[in-house]
């Protein structure tokens, strides 16, 4: 927060001083009423020339400032969203669409003839769900839809902020396109799935602007508590008037209002909306869109995370992790052959073998040091992988730098049985130690690939490449954190049980479902929910949609299908499934911020009592001066100090409300003890210091009143 944002938010904050808007916050509405009452009293005192008029006016001024500061917090939070919304809105600029209309087939022609179409230019806003539009390179896609014909690269930076274009094609899981994004190449035919005003972009704008913000369940519950506290104190102080009159010590209405305003939980009451907006904002800053604030809050409550193995826990592709040479074969020899056999292999597995080989011992001096272009000379025959042979590799002609022999050298890598057959057909055998290695790798869930070389006489099996699913770094630690927070992780994978168990153990997830189908996901969600748990999951495919809809928090990948996005209550624009863990954190932080500031606000009351109550009655009952433990300079200064502290603390806490209370992934017990200490005890002590400091300043000023 800086001065610029403050200045920008100020007009909005002033506009928000409107009873019809403020009635939604019972606490701040009470302050507004109090300010109006005090204004009336001040005017009356001024007209009557009362000696208290100056004091009343100053108090009244600070009460109005309290109202303003309360609105300011909300205005700043909304202002942040406005800026984002404006940039999004520019992408929604008036787009013309090329609508494809089917032409009625004239009577007499057979029904089997292909339909004919004509094109018509219409405004993007006139498109209806189900319309078919054609978009060619250089055009903006007019509305959300699914690609039904063609393939194109699309610039989605307007939404995701990611400048690299993405491919969108008909069929499959990459068919959804978003209105406002631009086709860079080729031509696609799109069926519109969202009416104007209801597109993804529209929803996103509404969301960041906070226009559709509804109170979340916890926010409503908190507001109920705050309303109750407000009523208690209003009753307490309103009944104090006759009691004080009974003792002939009736204070002025201004003082009573000041006491009410100081005691009701204005701090949290003023900051609640800002905390909610800021929570949503933090999510948006991480490129996650939630359909409602409720979803964000639910994320904090999640007790079970359903994580897809591929892409979330592991990199998603099996990677080479080790070379195991056969007895009598040097490791360098194996690595060289493995590399050669994979040089032309463009699959991720193949590339990972080459990468691992190059990391290995053989430097550029060895034969393995051949550059890819050197090794893949034009006369080299590339043997592609096929489902029949289940092997790939190279045939190196005589004279190739990697072929010292006098016949064609064949290098192959492939599945165990396939390579074994290849070798035995060429007089080779599978050495026992290699067989053992193969079994060992399979047993841990890895994939063994055999490497063989044949130089005309006898094929030789050189060793094994160990392919494994690699767990992303840091996952184990994150799962441990989640466990400490009481969140159970379940890994979902299509792998067999052995592989799944190995990965699960390595990543440290609590449970896994192997050979899972999309139906299994749904079943797991239902079972977890049956036992009272809240489940979060990510998904991108159309077949994930039922599970996404059933999950309490469903996060769809932006790269996924529109069915998945429709079913989910959040969309991750970066399509990063790991982010689910961050989303849980943001949800928790939102609640923690609310709880901590509530505690702070309520704890503040203790000091305020000790400031104001003695000041109220010390004139009538000098003994009550003993309660003035802060030693405040005068009754009027005491009351004013409390009111000023009460107003300023809102402004002081705005940055905290927007940033969120520091959140750590720890157990409930340690989170509570820390927050209780900082915001409970701190909230008790801070106002004693603050009020005393303000009083010191005030006592230096010429006496008020």
């Amino acid at each position: 927060m800086n001065l610029t944002t403050l200045r920008a938010a100020l007009p909005l904050a002033v506009r928000k001083i409107n009873p019809r808007l403020m009635i939604h916050s019972p606490v701040m509405f009470t302050v507004l009423i109090g300010s109006i009452v005090c204004t009336a009293v001040s005017v009356q005192q001024l007209l009557l020339g009362s000696s208290n008029a100056v004091f009343s006016i100053v108090v009244t001024l600070w009460l109005w400032l309290t109202v303003l500061f309360g609105n300011l917090a909300e205005a700043i939070a909304e202002g942040r969203g406005k800026a984002q919304a404006d940039s999004l809105r520019s992408a929604r600029s008036q787009v013309m669409a090329r609508r494809r209309n089917a032409v009625l087939v004239p009577a007499g022609q057979s029904a089997g003839t292909p339909e004919r179409y004509e094109e018509e230019m219409v405004a993007g806003t006139e498109l209806a769900v189900g319309d078919i539009v054609i978009v060619v390179a250089g055009e903006l896609i007019p509305s959300d839809g699914d690609v039904i014909e063609g393939l194109a690269s699309v610039d989605e930076s307007a939404i995701t902020g990611e400048s690299a274009p993405v491919i969108r094609e008909s069929g499959g899981d990459r068919s959804s396109v978003t209105g406002g994004t631009m086709v860079l190449s080729d031509r696609i035919v799109v069926r519109i799935t969202a009416a104007s005003g209801k597109t993804f972009l529209d929803r996103m704008i509404a969301l960041v602007e906070g226009a559709t913000r509804q109170k979340t369940p916890n926010e409503i519950a908190l507001n109920v508590l705050l309303a109750s506290l407000t009523i208690v104190f209003v009753v307490g102080i309103m009944t104090l008037a006759p009691m004080a009159a009974f003792a002939n010590a009736l204070p002025s209405p201004v003082v009573l209002v000041a006491l009410v305003v100081c005691l009701i939980p204005t701090t949290i009451g003023a900051l609640v909306p800002a905390i909610g907006i800021a929570g949503m904002d933090r999510l948006i800053q991480r490129n996650v869109l939630a359909t409602s604030g409720r979803a964000v809050e639910t994320a904090g409550d999640v007790t079970t995370l359903l994580l897809d193995k591929t892409g979330t826990i592991t990199y998603g592709n099996r990677r080479a992790v080790a070379f195991i040479a056969a007895n009598g074969v040097s490791e360098a020899e194996l690595i060289e052959a493995a590399r050669l056999s994979s040089l032309a292999d463009e699959t991720p597995e193949g590339r990972s073998i080459v990468e691992l080989a190059q990391e290995g011992a053989n430097g550029p001096s060895g034969p393995g040091g051949l550059s890819a272009t050197e090794a893949l000379r034009a006369d080299v025959e590339i043997v592609e992988f096929s489902a029949v042979t289940r092997m790939s590799g190279l045939n190196l002609p005589v004279g190739h730098p990697a072929n010292p022999g006098i016949t064609v050298r064949e290098v192959r890598k492939g599945a165990g049985s396939a390579v074994e057959r290849y070798a035995s057909e060429r007089g080779g055998v599978l050495p026992a130690d290699v067989r053992q290695a193969v079994e060992g790798i399979s047993g841990t869930g890895g994939t063994p690939l055999l490497v063989a070389s044949y130089e005309g006489k006898r094929a030789q099996i050189l060793g094994v490449i160990h392919l494994a699913d690699v767990v992303k770094p840091g996952m184990k630690e994150r799962f441990a954190e989640l466990r400490a927070m009481g969140i159970k992780t379940i890994m979902i994978t299509g792998d067999n049980k052995i592989t799944a168990a190995a990965i699960a153990a390595e990543a440290g997830v609590d449970d896994f479902v192997a050979e899972a189908t999309p139906e299994d996901k749904l079943a797991v969600i239902k079972a977890e929910q049956e036992s009272g748990r809240l489940v979060a999951m990510t998904g991108d495919g159309t077949n994930d949609a039922p599970a996404l809809a059933a999950a309490d928090v469903g996060v769809a990948m932006n790269s996924g299908t529109s069915a998945a996005k429709e079913a989910a209550n959040m969309v991750d624009l970066d399509s990063d499934p790991t982010k689910l863990i961050d989303i849980v954190g943001i949800g928790k932080q939102l609640l923690i911020t609310r709880g901590s500031l509530t505690t702070f606000s309520v704890a503040n009351d203790v000091a305020k009592y000790f400031a104001i109550v003695p000041a109220l009655f010390a004139a009538t009952f000098p003994g009550l001066g003993l309660l003035n433990i802060m030693g405040l300079s005068s009754p009027q200064n005491a009351i004013l100090s409390a009111v000023i502290f009460n107003a300023l603390i809102i402004v002081v806490l705005v940055p905290l409300a927007l940033r969120g209370v520091k959140y750590r992934a720890v157990s409930a017990a340690s989170a509570l003890s820390r927050n209780l200490l900082v915001y409970g005890l701190g909230g008790m002590i801070a106002p004693f210091i603050g009020i005393k400091a303000i009083d010191l300043v005030l006592s230096l000023l010429p006496t008020i009143g």
Partner: protein, 551 residues
């Protein structure tokens, strides 16, 4: 009057040892009583005669309706009993009770308040005392037990709105819990010297020729349930300061023990019923901490006042001394008992203020029979709510979500008592005719009025006795405060129980806020102080603080 701190500490330790030894066995017995499916033979006869179906599991609304119907009928019966006293037997010559007094008394005894706006010796005979008031002493306490049991069931049960059977719970509470302990307690009281006879009031002519009136009656049997059921309505006007009700230091200590016995055992019942004894221990430790601190402060207030040398000991029973008074006054105001062994009106201002604060805490340390625990449990819901948010989860109380629906009920619950107390006091001080009922000078008169409404709305029943509440105005307002202060919170508690029962149970994880352990106890203690006592801070400054803080 000097305070013997050692004597006070010794008595507190004796109580801690005795209650410490008994609270688990009694808690276990209570839990068994309210969870057993078996009906005793005489209970079955009772159900058959009254047409109750004991196996019916009642929806919370039916449970509440039964409770309200039972209580309203009780009030009407007790009211009629007093009006008709003159024509009924066993009246010891006492006639029809003044209708305002009768109304106030009927409400007072049915709400477990036992505010006494009459002098029993000259108003009521054996008949009304034993068959009217004592019956309500049992039943109103049993109602309190039933409510807390229903609330606990709400937390334990899942996916139902039924909370058990009110008639069965009340019957068991009265017959299986209160009656047997009362019989043992009465015998002990008789042994300590409390009278139990059918003698009525004797008039003796002394040697000097003066005539002395010596009242008699079945005191011990009334006395025991007065304390055990946290009722507080004395057989005599002087209550437990009367030598026939409370003859010596031993009986005094035993009476305090009776006051505290059931309220301090209920957390053990709670822990067992929810299947986690730690839950009970945590609430017990909060209750015990408030009790010990408050007793010590009361001792200090009496001792400090003794040092000022003003009107030493007026209104304080010399037999018990400062420590016996501090112990009794604290226990009676921290529970909803309201029996007194000294005139609270005569406590030093800060001591009287402390008695007020004890009640203003909501009588939760340990509180009335049933009402203390359910009061503390409702405040636990607030602690769970704020604490739950602070750990980043939608708050849960023993696996039940605390959402807007629950908070609404809790929010109204928190509002009821302060509103009744403050509004009642404000109205009374605003109407000179009503304020005149408290004739004490200066702020003490105000304290008397504040005390009356605090006592009534919290269903305590003790009084700053200088106030006269028998006139129609105060009798009605206090009766209203007692009635609303008892039954509105009960209705809210049962609704809360219903809303908890309906929910599915959420399993506990490391991310769940633990509702046991010192951390939660501190949070709960803080919430109790800030949410209840602080609300009254301004009013207290005008009363006891203005009287007691002198420069």
């Amino acid at each position: 009057m000097e305070l013997n701190a050692f004597a006070l500490a010794t008595q507190v330790v004796v109580l801690i040892v005795a209650l410490g030894a008994l609270h688990q066995p009694l808690g276990a017995y209570l839990a068994k009583t309210f969870t057993s499916h078996k009906h005793l033979a005489f209970e079955r006869v009772l159900y058959k005669l009254s047409g109750v179906e004991p196996r019916a599991d009642q929806h919370w609304k039916v449970y509440l309706r039964s409770l309200l119907a039972f209580s309203v009928v009780s009030i009407v019966v007790l009211f009629a009993f007093q009006l008709l006293q003159g024509v009924l037997p066993f009246n010891q010559g006492n006639g029809t009770v003044d209708p305002w007094v009768a109304m106030n008394t009927a409400v007072s005894f049915v709400t477990n308040t036992n505010w006494q706006t009459y002098a029993p010796e000259t108003t009521l005979g054996f008949g009304v005392q034993m068959l009217g008031l004592a019956v309500q002493n049992f039943l109103s306490a049993a109602v309190g037990l039933a409510v807390v049991v229903a609330l606990i069931r709400g937390l334990v049960r899942a996916e139902t709105s039924n909370l058990g059977n009110f008639w069965v719970d009340v019957t068991r509470g009265a017959l299986r819990v209160l009656l047997p302990i009362s019989i043992i307690g009465a015998v002990v009281l008789i042994i300590t010297g409390v009278i139990q006879n059918w003698g009525g009031t004797d008039i003796h002519t002394l040697v000097t020729g003066a005539q002395q009136t010596v009242p008699g009656g079945p005191v011990a049997s009334q006395e025991v349930i007065k304390l055990l059921g946290t009722n507080g309505g004395g057989y005599f006007n002087a209550n437990s300061a009367h030598p026939f009700e409370n003859p010596n230091a031993i009986s005094n200590l035993f009476e305090v023990f009776l006051i505290l016995l059931i309220p301090f055992s209920l957390p053990a019942m709670y822990g067992r019923m929810v299947g986690d004894k730690r839950q009970g221990y945590t609430l017990l430790s909060v209750m015990a901490a408030f009790w010990i601190i408050s007793t010590a402060l009361m001792g200090w207030a009496l001792a400090a006042f003794a040092g000022t040398g003003t009107s030493v000991g007026e209104g304080i029973e010399q037999r018990f001394g400062a420590n016996g008074t501090a112990l009794f006054a604290t226990a009676t105001t921290l529970t909803s008992t309201g029996a007194v062994n000294a005139a609270h009106d005569s406590l030093p201002p800060l001591g009287g203020g402390l008695a007020l604060v004890n009640m203003m805490l909501g009588e939760i340390a340990p509180g009335g029979v049933g009402s203390g625990l359910y009061g503390l449990m409702v405040l636990s819901v607030v602690a769970v709510f704020i604490g739950g948010l602070m750990v980043g989860r939608t708050p849960e109380m023993l696996g039940k979500k605390v959402g807007a629906g629950q908070m609404k009920l809790v929010a109204v619950y928190i509002l009821v008592t302060p509103t009744l107390v403050l509004l009642g006091t404000a109205i009374t001080v605003s109407i000179p005719a009503l304020a005149a009922a408290a004739p004490a000078e200066g702020q003490h008169g105000f304290s008397e009025i504040l005390y009356a409404f605090t006592s009534a709305a919290n269903n305590n029943g003790s009084a700053f006795g200088g106030i006269t509440s028998s006139g129609p105005g105060l009798a009605t307002m206090l009766a209203l405060a007692m009635f609303i202060g008892r039954f509105l919170p009960i209705a809210l508690v049962l609704a809360l129980a219903g809303s908890f029962a309906k929910q599915r149970k959420i399993p506990n994880t490391a991310g769940t806020l633990a509702t046991h352990g010192p951390l939660f106890a501190v949070l709960l203690g803080g919430i109790v102080l800030i949410l209840t006592a602080l609300t009254y801070f301004p009013a207290l400054t005008l009363g006891p603080a203005a009287e007691g803080l002198l420069k």
